[in-house]
Symmetry: C2
Subunit: 162 residues, 2 copies
């Protein structure tokens, strides 16, 4: 099973595709989709939409694991992230794959065993668990792999108890 | 100029197209796009996306006037509305028309001269200013016509002072 993890954002959307089987999940591809803050928001959402459709077509995941928008201090930013997450959901629906949403706390619990783990801890555990040399990329990339790993783990737990 | 006013939402998105010229703006069409709360959010966003593209194609507006998401009490609902507004922005960008956003306060000020006007006052003034018999439809419809009217008024004011 291929799981596409998405950490949505308008300026940067992290993505990571994991091949999930019996052993250690394998990273198929991972990266960050960018849009320019100089462009109007509608154009940026359209660019993100095209990039996500292309990514799904190229990698053929069976499911999208999406980090749920979480409001901290900056409400305007949360609104922008919510728009980007709506575009991610749309791309999944148009591509015929289901979406599973996970809160940041659920992702941290699944990956680090600690719902309060900080970004560095999450990135470090993601790279160890995926047997990567290091995760040097931006936090969005580690977060995208983390939500994909969270879904992979949850679906195996669900299989194991059912 | 045709102005498409949009009051975004996942369950109900209000729309209203105004033909704006020298006299009183004329209502070309107005209504509400629905999606079912029984369907998963990604499917609902995809349905809204298709309906909006179809609406823009059928009515050929030159601009979309969009009510800006505003957080009141219900943050979860605001996130849902933000996703729907992202879909509206996407549909505008894909159709090659610009988007102008207006806060609820700006809309109320433009339409009713009072940023704290309630929904009934706004609906009543919208119907009077557009010379409609009455605005019996849901609030989303009146709100969509209100944001279209707000944009029509603002663009005429901008023309007059430039």
């Amino acid at each position: 099973m291929f799981v596409l993890g998405i950490d949505p954002g308008l300026t940067r959307t992290g993505f990571g595709v994991l091949a999930v089987g019996r052993g250690v999940p394998r990273v198929v591809t991972a990266g960050v989709l960018h849009t320019s803050p100089d462009d109007p928001a509608p154009q940026r959402l359209a660019e993100l939409h095209r990039d996500l459709l292309e990514l799904i077509e190229e990698t053929s995941p069976q499911v999208m694991a999406l980090e749920r928008v979480f409001i901290r201090r900056n409400i305007t930013n949360a609104m922008t992230v919510a728009r980007a997450s709506g575009i991610a959901m749309l791309a999944a629906a148009e591509s015929g794959i289901p979406v599973r949403e996970y809160t940041p706390t659920a992702v941290k619990l699944a990956v680090a065993g600690d719902g309060n783990a900080d970004k560095a801890q999450v990135a470090s555990l993601v790279s160890r668990r995926l047997r990567l040399e290091a995760l040097d990329g931006p936090a969005d990339l580690a977060d995208a792999l983390a939500v994909a790993l969270c879904h992979a783990q949850q679906s195996r737990i669900e299989e194991a108890v059912s």
